[in-house]
């Protein structure tokens, strides 16, 4: 179980700016917990805080992974313990090929000290097969991570990495945004099959559409850094129809 308890978080800017207040939620193996909320409400901040982004300072609260307190572990330790984050806006990393990154990540997990070693040709073969399943051409493996990738390609690449590294829990930040119709379907099916194999998923999304394929066990709504409601799948449909106005969120237009 991945558990977030009473998390209060600030962002390091000129001074510390609070973004999350007393957030608690959890996801069990094989479960999907969807997180929705208006722009700027703190969804990405929540996933970053769980993963240990250095810009986010945990002011209060704790994070437990299968009972272990991982609150202040560095991101690489969290990753090695089975957390994976897919980014809303994956950053370009010039110089590092996608395949190199994954080989290094795999070797690290296997305790192999030479991160670049390809000890088994299956490493590459599996990568190719998986990439094809996610609709990424093999050439992407040779390209530098996210460099020149289109928005949708980035999203596919994020999920591809998640599936390749086989984490216990996936923190997925809008994996469906920017994807074409077929893309959403492929991604959703892959997430579902991971879930059926026991992966727990925190799924940030703006759209009920993906939740038609990936049935959430729970849906939580974040507004202004606070969880304001948690419910079943029907909550996503409600938000889809009615937006966030019932939580006191007013749509600000340009004249505001």
């Amino acid at each position: 179980m991945l558990e977030v308890k009473n998390l209060t978080v600030g962002i390091k800017a000129d001074k510390i700016k609070n973004v999350l207040y007393n957030v608690s939620l959890s996801v069990a193996p094989g479960e999907v917990h969807a997180i929705m909320g208006p722009n700027g409400s703190g969804k990405t901040s929540l996933l970053y805080s769980i993963m240990g982004h250095p810009r986010y300072v945990i002011l209060n609260g704790k994070i437990f992974l299968d009972g272990e307190d991982i609150t202040f572990l560095p991101p690489e330790e969290k990753s090695l313990r089975g957390l994976f984050i897919s980014f809303q806006h994956p950053v370009e990393v010039e110089g590092v090929r996608l395949s190199t990154l994954l080989i290094a990540a795999k070797n690290k997990r296997a305790g192999e000290s030479d991160l670049l070693k390809i000890s088994d040709v299956r490493m590459i073969r599996d990568m190719r097969q998986l990439a094809a399943r996610i609709g990424l051409k093999a050439e992407f493996l040779r390209r530098d991570v996210n460099v020149g990738f289109s928005g949708g390609e980035r999203k596919r690449s994020e999920l591809f990495q998640a599936l390749y590294l086989k984490p216990k829990y996936m923190l997925l930040d809008e994996p469906d945004t920017g994807l074409d119709v077929d893309g959403v379907k492929v991604i959703a099916e892959s997430i579902s099959s991971a879930v059926s194999e026991g992966v727990g998923v925190l799924l940030v999304t703006h759209y009920a559409r993906i939740l038609n394929y990936v049935r959430p066990d729970r849906v939580s709504v974040i507004v202004n850094g606070r969880i304001v409601e948690t419910g079943g799948p029907e909550l996503a449909q409600l938000i889809d129809r009615e937006g966030y106005s019932k939580y006191g969120v007013v749509e600000v237009d340009g004249s505001g």
Partner: protein, 477 residues
């Protein structure tokens, strides 16, 4: 059958977990001769006598000594004042006879090469190897089939004896001692190194390597490499250097001279991985005649301070050069690198690529000179400087300089400085990599195209060295 030489194989080498573990601290080795003291006529005559040199070489040394005394310390050099030349041995001959068999070498000398898997690499991938320990060549061998083709690979001292005409023509002619004080010092004190001659039309497939090792503190190494590639020939020369951790520092002041005759092609690759106690000065210059190609690739990873500026004079019409200079300054170290190209003939082309990586307080400096002489019609020069700065405490400076006297020439310069952002680092660490590991991947990535035409074994070793290099500073606690 003699006892088989135990060579650390490449696999084993790749398992080391820190770079210091590889050699550890300096160890004792038996010395036959050690010459120290104020650099002057006495010392030089003594070195020359030990080597039983012909008169002309002694005269050349003494002339260089005069220049050394006369020339000022170049003003732009920083850090060189740390060297006290009187404290440093001008000449150190280990107790080991020059041999063609690794088994002949005393264990404490052989181990310097075995730790890096050099004998294995030699057997599998090289046409010839020259190994220098301190001031002397202790091992030199060439594969037999090259002998039949008339290729010469010899310790420099032997070449002085056997091929005086060739040597008089090129030795300290391509890079004259009058250039600056440390070139003069080198020519006055030179010892050890390799001479290579590739006859007309001979293309040597596997590279030739020279490997330089400094075994102790307060030693000076003044090795000299001269490669003469005759018309239509090809050779790839690789030099490597290493040292253990030293209690005090040592000083390397080497020289490389390349001569590429008409249509010849010389590739010269340096993999410099000195320990942090070496102050490393280099004098590297090549001359390319008509349609000849000279390619320098210099990877400076180790050392406390490195000064290196591989240079090419494009002396014949249509000659080309590519000078790739890579500096990695990881820690409180300085890489003062750069390149010089003189276009002295029409239709010549040059490309300088400088890639620097600064981390953990490291400083990289690039100094470049592109000179296009009047009459070098339609010559083309490209300069690209790519600096990567991996943290706030590190720096990179570039000082490109152009002297263009030919109006039909085209010169371009591109400079780019990249920093590793917090978000990039977070991205990589979220995949399970420590800060050091993430940085090493980026560094290896930055160098990948450049390293692509090295033998695979060198690339693996280099990849490993870079990973070890960054593993020490990476991560937490």
């Amino acid at each position: 059958m003699t006892e088989a030489v135990k060579t650390a194989d490449v696999e084993e080498l790749l398992r080391y977990t820190s770079i210091d573990e590889l050699y550890g601290w300096e160890w004792e080795y038996a010395k036959e001769i050690e010459i120290r003291g104020k650099i002057g006529r006495d010392i030089i005559e003594e070195i020359s006598k030990v080597k039983k040199e012909p008169e002309w070489m002694l005269r050349l040394r003494l002339k260089a000594l005069e220049l050394f005394n006369k020339l000022p310390v170049p003003k732009w050099l920083t850090g060189i004042e740390e060297i006290d030349l009187e404290e440093i041995a001008a000449y150190v001959k280990p107790r080991a006879e020059l041999t063609k068999e690794w088994t002949d070498l005393p264990d404490e000398i052989r181990k310097a090469y075995e730790k890096l898997g050099i004998p294995e690499i030699e057997a599998r991938f090289l046409s010839g190897l020259t190994a220098v320990y301190g001031s002397e060549t202790v091992y030199s061998k060439m594969k037999e089939k090259l002998e039949e083709k008339g290729v010469i690979i010899l310790p420099m001292e032997e070449a002085v004896q056997k091929y005086p005409d060739l040597l008089k023509r090129y030795f300290a002619r391509i890079f004259p001692p009058s250039d600056h004080k440390f070139a003069a010092l080198h020519v006055a004190l030179w010892s050890g190194g390799a001479f290579v001659y590739v006859p007309k039309g001979v293309k040597i497939e596997q590279p030739i390597e020279a490997f330089f090792f400094i075994g102790g503190s307060l030693e000076g190494q003044f090795e000299h490499t001269l490669v003469v590639a005759d018309e239509d020939s090809y050779v790839h020369f690789i030099e490597g250097c290493s040292a253990p951790l030293l209690k005090k520092y040592s000083f390397h002041d080497g020289m490389v001279e390349l001569y590429a005759a008409r249509n010849a092609h010389i590739k010269f690759t340096t993999l410099q991985n000195w320990s942090r106690d070496i102050i490393n000065f280099n004098n590297k210059r090549g001359i390319a005649k008509e349609n000849a190609i000279i390619e320098w690739t210099e990877g400076s990873i180790g050392s406390k301070i490195t000064y290196t500026y591989p240079s090419t004079i494009l002396a014949g019409e249509g000659a080309k050069t590519s000078n790739i200079v890579i500096g990695i300054a990881n820690g409180p170290y300085l890489k003062d690198t750069g390149s010089k190209v003189i276009h002295a003939a029409p239709n010549t082309a040059s490309r300088i690529i400088s890639k620097s990586i600064s981390n953990n307080g490291g400083i990289n400096i690039y100094r470049g000179l592109v000179r296009i002489n009047k009459g070098a019609y339609n010559s083309i020069a490209n300069v690209e400087c790519d600096s990567l700065i991996l943290d706030e405490s590190s720096m990179a400076y570039t000082y490109p300089h152009n002297q263009i006297e030919e109006p039909t020439a085209t010169v371009s310069h591109e400079a780019k400085t990249g920093r590793l952002s917090e978000d990039q680092l977070f991205y990589l660490s979220s995949r399970g990599l420590s800060e050091g590991e993430a940085k090493s991947l980026i560094v290896i990535g930055m160098l990948k195209e450049i390293l692509s035409d090295l033998p695979l074994e060198f690339v693996s070793i280099l990849n490993r060295v870079i990973q070890l290099e960054f593993s020490e500073v990476g991560g937490i606690g």
